[in-house]
């Protein structure tokens, strides 16, 4: 495209996004600024605030529960990001093959993503119920792998893995959808050329599919990191004992000793980390 056309399009683009930028500014920038402001105050329930300087931050950095929740969040992030990407990729490759009822299957895969979180959470809790759950029935009564019925969700350590599994199951369809869209646009003759060049199915996946999907995979990973660093409802509803950062923040702000200033400090740190992470990722990994 000639540069004049590019410039014209850029001008039009600016006009089109201007209203949205205004609204987003109000809805996002204001709370962020307010949040930063709050993090320097001790906030009382009645709304009274006293300026405490960096006290909220020093308290937080001296709190072992904070470090614990950072650790939980990291495991949660790594597990869910890798899990959804790999499962989404596998599903996309599978659904890109020709077979009967393919269109139906392509639709069905999306179901977990559509399903309201509150109802599927109950389903999952039932699956892992220590007394009546299917999981314990299968593991103990059918397969006889162990004699003891486990309360997987009751125990925070195992609950973390249930929560990760749940997120993978619920959110791989979005990875699948993005990857499938790209997969369908990979030129067929690249696969043919690779086959002629001696590559079997695995080699073609490795040398054609993966490189072609590189940017979409990177995008999926980026989105998943952003979403899951802030993910609250899935974790809280399914297993409130799994203390990821957002859950810890929530307890800090609204439960027990109400400490909105402290919670604000957590959010500010989290925001800084997120921004740094994304910057690093976009510039160094994606090289955009």
């Amino acid at each position: 495209m000639s540069s004049i056309l590019v410039k014209n399009e850029a001008k039009l683009g600016l006009k089109l996004v201007a209203p949205a930028v205004g609204i987003i500014g109000l809805l996002v920038i204001y709370p962020i600024l307010f949040n930063i402001y709050l993090s320097f105050f001790d906030v009382q329930l009645n709304g009274d605030k006293t300026f405490v300087g960096l006290d909220n931050y020093t308290d937080l950095l001296g709190n072992p529960r904070y470090y614990h929740s950072v650790g939980v969040s990291i495991v949660y992030l790594i597990g869910t990001v890798i899990g959804t990407t790999v499962l989404g990729l596998a599903a996309a490759v599978l659904m890109n093959q020709e077979f009967r009822f393919r269109n139906l299957a392509r639709g069905l895969i999306l179901l977990p993503y559509f399903a309201p979180v509150i109802s599927v959470v109950f389903g999952w809790q039932f699956i892992f119920d220590p007394v009546n759950g299917i999981y314990n029935h299968v593991v103990v009564d059918v397969l006889h792998l162990t004699d003891t019925r486990e309360n997987l969700i009751g125990n925070p350590d195992s609950a973390l893995f249930v929560v990760i599994l749940f997120d993978i199951w619920k959110h791989f369809p979005i990875a699948y959808l993005l990857l499938l869209a790209k997969l369908q646009s990979v030129p067929k003759d690249l696969y043919e050329a690779a086959a002629i060049d001696g590559q079997n199915a695995w080699g073609r996946f490795w040398h054609v599919t993966l490189p072609e999907l590189r940017f979409v995979i990177a995008t999926v990973v980026l989105l998943r990191i952003i979403w899951n660093l802030n993910r609250f409802e899935d974790v809280y509803l399914l297993a409130p004992n799994v203390e990821t950062l957002p859950i810890f923040t929530y307890y800090q702000a609204f439960a027990g000793i109400v400490d909105q200033g402290g919670a604000a400090a957590i959010s500010v740190i989290q925001l800084l980390v997120l921004v740094g992470l994304i910057w690093l990722y976009v510039r160094k990994v994606l090289k955009w």
Binding site: A193, Q199, N200, V208, E212
Partner: protein, 369 residues
């Protein structure tokens, strides 16, 4: 290198036959060109050899291996695709050595081959570029290089030059011919361009609607086309076909009477079984009578009215009417014909072909070339 044999090969999509009972033997080191109109099944045939399409019926053999059930990656073939199909994330260098590496060649061989190929195809300056940063002609050369770098049993080309401009196409045509001879490659080359077919092929296979119409050397096919389809498809401008009545020993149309006895390879007894025939004369075989040296086997078409003259530089094409149809002749540049003039055109009767008037239009006077 290896020979390739196709035995009674058929291909159908559903109930629709695309390639019908194709038989062909490509000898070791031979360059065979499949030519025919678009959609006649050339690519399908090539892709069956490559293993990219399965074979509905029949057998394909490379060397002494039957390869029907062998997947493409085990066939040891190299192929140049019409749209090049270069790996976009790999540099030119990586594209070229990709197949070679996979085949297990050692580092020294790979280096040597890469140097040879990039020298031969003048790719040295682009080795570190990605395909997206190359022009069409450069991409084409990379695609060619990727195939030539391989040590394959058979090299397949699917219209590799069709996306190039005329000048580049001519240049690459010459290069391909040179390389094929130099390496004594067994090659099957698909094109719809009859000039490519005639200039490149040791032998040419003319196809129509999934059927092989004729297999032969370019000269066979040019001088002795088995039927009117081959006769008109090969050669540009197309061969003139004029319907003539048979009266005794003469072929009659307009006010001309051509003595059939003077035409090569005519069986007069066989000819008398026809009422009419098609007289085939290539535009190149006409001469301006004013310039031709007299010979007893020349037939003169007198009182030809020239409808149109096109100067092509070295020669000129004229259009006129013969037997009520538009006809063309290609005359050399010394001829001074002008539009609307009346001239005489001569034809060596040894060069005249006769076809029957059946739908197939079979050649009647087949014989020695």
């Amino acid at each position: 290198m290896s020979s390739v044999i196709l035995r009674n090969v058929n291909k159908s999509y559903g109930n629709l036959p695309i390639v019908k009972n194709l038989n062909l033997e490509v000898k070791d080191g031979e360059f065979v060109v499949l030519v025919g109109p678009s959609g006649c099944g050339k690519s399908t045939t090539l892709r069956m050899v490559a293993g990219l399409e399965d074979i509905t019926q029949g057998e394909i053999q490379i060397g002494d291996r039957a390869i029907n059930d062998l997947p493409p990656h085990k066939r040891n073939i190299a192929m140049v695709f019409q749209n090049y199909a270069l790996y976009p994330h790999m540099s030119v260098r990586e594209n070229i050595v990709f197949g070679l590496k996979k085949s297990g060649a050692d580092a020294e061989t790979i280096k040597q081959r890469l140097a040879d190929v990039s020298e031969m195809l003048k790719l040295n300056d682009y080795l570190d570029r990605k395909p997206a940063d190359l022009s069409g002609g450069q991409r084409q050369r990379v695609a060619m290089g990727r195939a030539l770098a391989r040590d394959a049993d058979v090299y397949l080309f699917d219209e590799p030059l069709s996306n190039l401009d005329a000048k580049l196409r001519h240049h690459m045509r010459t290069e391909i011919a040179r390389i094929q001879h130099q390496y004594n490659m067994t090659a099957i080359y698909v094109t719809h361009d009859q000039i490519e077919a005639m200039t490149l092929g040791d032998r040419v296979v003319v196809m129509r609607d999934g059927i092989v119409e004729q297999v032969g050397t370019p000269m066979d096919i040019y001088l002795q086309p088995t039927n009117t389809f081959v006769a008109t498809f090969i050669g540009s401008p197309a061969m003139n076909l004029i319907e003539a009545k048979i009266e005794g020993d003469d072929l009659v149309f307009d006010h001309y009477r051509i003595p059939a006895t003077k035409i090569a390879n005519v069986d007069m007894h066989d000819l008398s079984s026809h009422d009419t025939v098609l007289v085939g004369i290539r535009p190149d075989f006409f001469e301006d009578s004013a310039l031709s040296s007299p010979s007893d086997n020349l037939f003169e078409f007198n009182e030809i009215q020239v409808d149109l003259v096109e100067n092509l530089g070295f020669d000129k094409e004229i259009m006129f009417k013969l037997g009520g149809e538009d006809a063309k002749a290609r005359l050399d540049l010394r001829s001074h014909v002008k539009r609307q003039e009346h001239i005489s055109l001569s034809v060596d009767l040894n060069r005249v072909l006769l076809f029957d008037t059946s739908p197939q239009g079979m050649l009647i006077n087949a014989g020695e070339v």
